[in-house]
């Protein structure tokens, strides 16, 4: 791959000399630098070194994850575009295609939560509309430390405002997501944003630079000095002083410009004046130009002095590596540059020709006509060294997993008190405080809003809808990465079938620590293997995603958190089910079985401050059967509601069904007699369980359908009037509360923490 020869390029006046230190500062190992020298056939210039550094960062080059990612299933008849493009695309019927992807903005959000989160949303929107799709929904998957420190509350509050303000302004509804609070994320919050976009099949456009002589145009915002080397920064561990020193590496978002850019881009694509378009995201012009050249098998030549800039005196190095937001690189058809300019001008934006596509396979950069970088494009994008490392589980994890939990199964004191504590834990409690800050109904397509099992967006002009969810319980993955990842995929699929959607494909966001450490690489590998198995079993191929490694502060890694963003298709919107109980008198049926599993539960975290034990096991065949059974029941119109059991176990899930959105709570009367300790029945987080409510005349049919699919099912009680309260009896132990008591614990939990007068608390 190194037979492409390079032209000699004299050092640019004023650029630093390249020393071993400069190379190390660019995140390249001595071996990697030697590889650069081999590819170039000489020493690189400072500008060239910057380009390699960005493209060979983990963020762009996937050097520690690529070999593992290749193990994932990526194909199915409904997949139109798999990994490697700006976003994955699947067929969703009636001539429509769905583009979707998830992306992380963890490092910037740790340093500047508002802008970090806002630009995370901005970036993922651009990945979708550069495919030709109109963004129709956003989801956000967040992780923070416990809310008992001011620092964490600041991060949480800033991230939520950032996600909200950006999406609200552009006008894309937020339809779901998830958040977990655990000290495992104390130093490094996780901010993953997912976007869905719809288009007609024929509107799909890709990001390849083809046709030598075609002009390359920079459109949208001007290039400034913000975010230089963001990609490299995102591929390092943070240190305690990262806050101050790393601020310049965080970009600043302008959602107003994004909205104009969105409309202009869709109009550009529809005009036929362009053949390719790509976001200037991580590593800015460098990655967009070189990746477009790489995909098109061509070369590019760019003149830096033609790039519209915000500041005087920017060097080629700075222009190439700036991560200023709301910019696009466009390949225009020769002679149609003015059409491109006119469309951009209508939307009050700029477009400038900054170079052209060539056929010599080079990534060539000019400054006033003088070459300052001349790199073979293919080795730059595809030649990033990839590593397979030794992985080994950390001994303390083995010990945690093997911990005997028996003493925690015997409750101390009043079970009702414990229950109220549990549903008032921010991990279980209502997230209204978050999603009431997000516009959820703009674009008039949101059939299921946040707070349900999945968000649902109907496709106007058809009877169809798409559903989406993000899921991952990092505690389970921490305790046993393969099982935990199986659980993440399984939970996502359950959340989709609960609204009546057929699980179709996933995008993933692998948030891990430093993979150079054997125990982290072990987590990464095991997790990918779990994802491979679950996605194969559920026929939900991976169509793309994002890898965020080095999520560590002062050597302490986050819980391994492979977030699954799964999408599904609903072919009849009239059959959508929701999680809340709807009628007093309905029967409550538990599909799936309680098994004696308490490991990794919220109950242990809340009552014993413990993340330990075997995480719940996952039976892929059983999960698959459960999904099919619930979809069949949905098609037969026999379900009045459906809800997955997750954090907080069966008791918390019942409370969520009974409370709904808080407007009209219903009560429950449930009795369970099984050979398990009451604490485990109530609060254990066994997988493969879905709670449904059913009109009594349909109960027999539901039980029979479950039997047909070999899914355990039992009627466990009935829905009662709200005034009758919440009552559970489990082998002699009882739980009872009034609905106002429950509502206060559940809806009041996060507001009580976040809206407390300043100065109270830590």
């Amino acid at each position: 791959m190194t037979n492409a020869t390079s032209t000699p390029v004299p050092p640019r006046e004023g650029d630093p000399e390249i020393t071993a230190e400069v190379v190390a500062d660019h995140g390249l190992s001595p071996e990697e630098y030697e590889r650069v020298q081999r590819i170039m056939g000489r020493d690189p210039t400072f500008t060239e070194l910057g380009v390699f550094s960005a493209m060979w960062s983990e963020h762009c080059g996937y050097k520690n994850s690529k070999r593992l990612l290749q193990l994932l299933p990526t194909k199915a008849p409904w997949v139109i575009q798999g990994p490697g493009e700006n976003a994955g695309v699947i067929d969703v019927g009636d001539g429509y295609a769905l583009a979707f992807k998830i992306e992380s903005h963890n490092h910037p959000s740790a340093v500047e939560p508002y802008q970090g989160a806002a630009t995370g949303v901005g970036g993922i929107l651009r990945d979708i509309f550069t495919m030709g799709a109109r963004p129709v929904a956003v989801l956000d998957s967040l992780r923070f430390g416990d809310l008992d420190t001011g620092r964490v509350r600041y991060l949480f509050s800033g991230v939520v405002s950032g996600v909200g303000d950006y999406g609200n302004c552009v006008g894309i509804p937020n339809v779901g997501g998830e958040v977990q609070f655990d000290r495992g994320y104390e130093g490094n919050p996780i901010v993953n944003a997912m976007c869905l976009g719809l288009m007609k099949h024929e509107e799909l456009i890709t990001a390849a630079a083809t046709g030598a002589g075609s002009p390359l145009m920079a459109v949208g915002a001007r290039t400034g000095r913000d975010g230089i080397h963001g990609a490299t920064f995102a591929s390092e561990e943070l240190s305690e002083d990262a806050d101050e020193s790393s601020r310049p590496q965080v970009q600043v978002g302008d959602p107003f410009t994004e909205k104009l850019l969105l409309e202009a881009s869709l109009e550009l694509i529809a005009s036929g004046a362009i053949s390719g378009i790509q976001d200037m995201g991580a590593a800015g012009i460098t990655s967009s130009a070189s990746e477009m050249a790489g995909r098109g098998g061509s070369g590019v030549e760019l003149e830096m002095t033609d790039v519209p800039v915000r500041e005087e005196g920017m060097t080629p190095y700075e222009i190439l590596l700036s991560e200023s937001q709301e910019r696009m690189l466009v390949v225009a058809h020769p002679g149609r540059e003015d059409e491109v300019r006119d469309i951009l001008e209508k939307w009050e934006l700029e477009a400038a020709v900054i170079g052209q596509v060539t056929d010599d396979g080079k990534f060539r950069i000019l400054e006033h006509g003088k070459v300052v970088a001349d790199i073979p494009a293919l080795p730059l994008t595809e030649g990033c060294p990839t590593y397979e490392r030794e992985g080994k589980e950390a001994e303390e994890i083995t010990a945690l997993r093997e911990m005997d939990l028996t003493e925690h199964m015997i409750p101390e004191g009043d079970l009702t008190k414990t229950f109220l504590l549990l549903i008032g834990s921010p991990n279980v409690a209502s997230k209204q405080w978050i999603y009431h800050q997000y516009d959820t109904t703009v674009r008039t397509a949101t059939a299921v809003r946040p707070g349900g099992d999945s968000g649902v967006i109907r496709i106007r002009g058809t009877n169809r809808a798409v559903a989406a969810t993000t899921d991952c319980n990092g505690r389970f993955v921490y305790l046993e990465p393969r099982t935990g990842t199986l659980a993440a995929v399984a939970e996502a699929a359950r959340n989709l079938v609960c609204v009546g959607a057929l699980p179709t494909a996933i995008t993933n966001n692998l948030n891990f620590g430093n993979p150079l450490k054997a125990h982290i690489y072990y987590q990464l590998r095991e997790s990918v293997l779990g994802m491979r198995d679950a996605c194969s079993a559920f026929e939900t191929p991976v169509t793309g995603g994002n890898v965020s490694l080095f999520n560590e502060t002062d050597g302490k890694a986050i819980y391994p958190t492979p977030v699954i963003g799964m999408v599904g298709v609903i072919d009849d919107v009239s059959k959508i089910t929701r999680h809340a109980f709807v009628n007093a008198g309905d029967d409550i049926v538990l599909l799936g079985a309680n098994s004696g599993e308490l490991g990794g539960s919220e109950y242990l975290y809340v009552t014993a401050d413990l993340v330990a034990g075997e995480p719940p096991s996952v039976d892929l065949d059983g999960e698959r059967a459960l999904q099919q059974a619930v979809l069949k029941m949905n098609h037969e119109d026999v379900l009045n509601s459906a809800h997955d059991c997750s954090e907080g176990g069966l008791a918390a899930a019942l409370a969520q069904c009974a409370l709904g959105n808080g407007e009209a709570p219903l009560g429950i009367d449930v009795a369970i007699d099984e050979d398990l300790r009451p604490v485990v029945s109530l609060f254990g987080e066994s997988q493969g369980r879905i709670l449904v409510s059913v009109s009594p005349e349909n109960t027999e049919q539901v039980l029979a359908l479950a039997g047909h699919y070999d899914v355990p099912a039992q009627k466990i009680g009935t829905v009662t009037a709200g005034d009758d309260g919440f009552s559970m009896n489990v082998r002699g132990a009882s739980l009872s509360a009034t609905m106002p008591e429950l509502a206060d614990a559940y809806f009041g939990a996060i507001p009580r923490i976040m809206d407390a007068p300043a100065g109270s608390g830590a």
Binding site: V170, G171, R449
Partner: protein, 230 residues
Amino acid sequence: MKVAVITFPGSNCDYDLYKAAQQVGGDATFMWHRERGLAGYDAVLLPGGFSYGDYLRAGAIARMSPIMEDVIAFANTGGPVLGICNGFQILCESGLLPGALMHNKSMRFQSKDVFLRVERADTLFTADYEEGQILRIPIAHGEGNYEADRETLEALESEGRVVFRYVDSNGGTSDGANPNGSWHDIAGITNESGNVLGMMPHPERAMEELLGSTDGIALFTSLVASLQTS
């Protein structure tokens, strides 16, 4: 009936408003803010969104768009003008409606369903409602806290120009039912002649059972019916 939906840079509810007008039989057309001339239109709709990013102040820059001169002339000759959310903010900034929309009392963006009480069922926009009817309509705004000086508030009340008020599901006013701190729980008002309505809640998002509410339909049918009879 020809309806113009004005799109400003940063409008994001223009499409929803266009669809709502169409749903009740309106012949809707998008007009870009730099276009001129409203001759031939029977009503003008100003959509929600973040015109000019809400930079400076919500609606403050949009009111200087070329089309606003025509909108003001249209309103002054009695043409019906409806502004929703950012559209309401633009109407206040342009002087077609009194008062101002300040940051929500919570200082946070609020997006959820609220309940509104129809205070007047005898306007161009509300004839298909009953007075006192309770509506379920979504809100989504950061600056919806209606404020005006005492004189203006007194005039609005005494002249019956408060059209919608925030209430709870039983129709009572309370701090808990008011999502943004608006004075007098005001959610929507008209001008003196009653042909200009501004409101923060989004009736165009309450047009279908599938999406949660149909309580917005009557506002658009009222408008269409008034134009057909006039």
